[in-house]
Symmetry: C2
Subunit: 205 residues, 2 copies
DNA sequence: GTGAAACTTGAGTCAATATTCATATTCGGC
DNA sequence: GCCGAATATGAATATTGACTCAAGTTTCAC
């Protein structure tokens, strides 16, 4: 949620002055709010420019279209989520701890930025290629971490990629249920309980 | 995918003759295809009536609006998925087996009815109340099964509802990745590998 | 067989809103 | 303080597609 506007704008429309960069940033922030609250189709360009405090035409100085802006936003946010989780996990001692911390960080993130969660998920129906790219990158990184942990003997042998998808799916749904819909448990509690499930397993012992 | 048209139409618009019921069924089937292929917003009423082989006006004889039809469809499909999985699971000996069979059935279902998967997920952004209801029911039923299995000592103690959400999330993402996006593994293989993860756990032993 | 209810038709209405563009303003280098 | 480039403006355009409705056709109870 910090580096908005870097690679967001297509080459020929990129701002050339400080004023322009400021305007682009205002537009991206306004767009995140507008898309987050109203969804892609309900969102109106006039809504975005209104929130940003600029005229309608200004939008088209910097963006080709509503969809192009949306794509740029999804990429920004994909980056932001993955970075947020990766940073939180850095402090973890081993893989199981990393899972716990990463999941807690993810749930907390959905709680603090529900609009961001919504925008990424809606991309599935608005810009599917970007959506797939988001989860493919996420899964690929995840699988690498699992492979490394396996090599260190921290976790049992198993298929890295499939495990990554399973764990991501779990996280996304827990984020939706306990981060956005209801908050009857803290991020930490959700993470503890869920990671207990995947680390110890369901089987009675 | 069989009982289309039962509670789908609002009272005052319900068909009163066999001809009418047939037309409603044709419309619902056409709508499932149109929405599945093009998504809610791209889908056009003329597209639906075209596929169904009826005139545009006929649509409004039986449905209040595009969105009302969409809601009806989501409810039908919610029912269909849950029923499909529940039936498959009936043959299972114990809970772990039920998990395996249920997941395989779910993946197979997404593979055979990708349009159905898409419609349910898109409901998140078109008819959120119906979407929530779908997963809340799914989770509630799932949690009941887990509680029963716990009582029988088939699985370790743990929080039923959270486990249900975690397992559902896992299933949905595995269905998306291995059922719809790519098919590099069979439904059975996906289910075996994923259920091994949740039954045995990640921890090295 | 008949008449009213149920059903079907598709051209026309209408609102919404993404995008364009001609014009006006501001900026930064000199 | 001047000039061309960069920005900003918002009224006008153009498309799209959901929904209406008045007029026709079919069904079926009697």
């Amino acid at each position: 949620m910090n580096d908005m506007g870097q690679a967001a704008v297509s080459a020929d429309k990129a701002p050339r002055t400080e004023r322009g960069r400021r305007t682009v940033r205002k537009l991206l922030e306004a767009a995140a709010r507008e898309f987050g609250e109203r969804g892609f189709h309900e969102a109106a360009i006039t809504g975005i420019t209104g929130r940003a405090g600029v005229a309608l035409g200004t939008f088209y100085t910097y963006f080709e279209s509503k969809e192009e802006l949306f794509r740029a936003l999804v990429r920004d946010m994909s980056h932001a989520v993955r970075q947020h989780v990766a940073e939180a996990v850095r402090e973890a001692g081993d893989r199981i701890a990393a899972e716990r911390i990463g999941l807690a960080a993810f749930i907390a993130f959905t709680r603090e930025h529900p609009e961001l969660y919504r925008i990424i998920e809606e991309a599935q129906f608005v810009a599917e290629d970007v959506y797939r790219e988001h989860y493919r990158s996420f899964a690929a990184g995840y699988a690498r971490n699992l492979a490394a942990a396996r090599a260190r003997g921290e976790i049992a042998d198993g298929p890295d990629e499939l495990r990554a998808w399973a764990l991501i799916g779990m996280s996304v749904f827990l984020g939706m249920r306990y981060g956005i819909w209801d908050r009857d448990l803290s991020s930490r509690e959700v993470a503890d309980l869920a990671i207990d499930l995947v680390s110890e397993g369901l089987r009675a012992r």
